[in-house]
Amino acid sequence: MPPLPLPPTVPISWYLTLSAILFSLGIAGFLFRRSIITVFMSIELMLNAVNLSFITFSYKLKQVDGHIFSFFVMVVAAAEAAVGLAIILTVFKNRQTLEIDELDSLKN
């Protein structure tokens, strides 16, 4: 097996790029998925990407603040998940569907 053309360490920009890719994937999930729950999970994916970005910057700056920030993001995500899933429950109760495209009675 030929040695991988890899440096021993990776630049910070790679982490950041990974974060950007994950963020974009999150957006993509939001844009392309039709199940409300999956859409919601896409948001979680975006938040994860943000967290990666925070922690990467924290590494770069040698500060702990980024970690704190991502900690709060996690807490908020958890809270959001609770409320969001409750909302999804009520929607489902009323409409018996999780198709996001069917929730368009309010428009124009």
């Binding site: 199940s35 990666l52 922690i55 495209d101």
Partner: protein
């Protein structure tokens, strides 16, 4: 070694991420998300975020995702139906995403040229001690306020999911 680990977990994260997007069944997506989170936890460790990595696994991949899966199961959410309505995001999404990604990547390249690299142990202040100290001194207020946030979450869940309003 660092690079290899990065490549490995990054690949897992990206693949799981892509899987999340392309799966039509919520459960598959949820499991993919767990995969992403786990991979990210590993990367956090590489970046020196011990506490965060743990929290990521315990809180995120554990508690939150369990909640998700629980709801999916509860609602018996199945595969998505065939698309009837095509919002314009369907067509414009990919180009927009590529553009977004392109711009961000370019900015990253410009701002952080590849001179500085990440090596495991390059940052060691991400342990519980430092985090705890910061949380209870500088970040005391947000920390306390998150309790309100949790309270609201509880309240919201009660309001919305209680059996009958009256």
């Amino acid at each position: 070694m660092d690079a290899l680990l990065f490549m490995l977990f990054a690949a897992i994260a990206v693949v799981c991420g892509i899987n999340l997007v392309i799966q039509t069944h919520p459960i598959s997506s949820a499991l993919s998300l767990v995969g992403v989170m786990a991979a990210l936890a590993a990367l956090y460790l590489l970046l020196g975020g011990e506490f965060i990595a743990a929290a990521q696994l315990v809180v995120y991949a554990g508690a939150v995702m369990v909640l998700f899966i629980f709801v999916i199961m509860l609602l018996n959410a199945g595969t998505e139906h065939k698309v009837k309505k095509n919002p314009w995001s369907q067509y414009a999404g990919i180009p927009m995403l590529l553009l977004f990604l392109g711009i961000v990547a370019c900015l990253v390249q410009q701002m952080f040229p590849s001179t500085e690299s990440v090596s495991f142990g390059g940052f060691t202040k991400g342990g519980p001690l430092e985090i705890g100290r910061a949380l209870f001194t500088t970040y005391l207020l947000p920390f306390e306020v998150t309790s309100v946030l949790i309270l609201i979450a509880i309240l919201g869940a009660i309001v919305l999911a209680r059996k009958e309003i009256d």
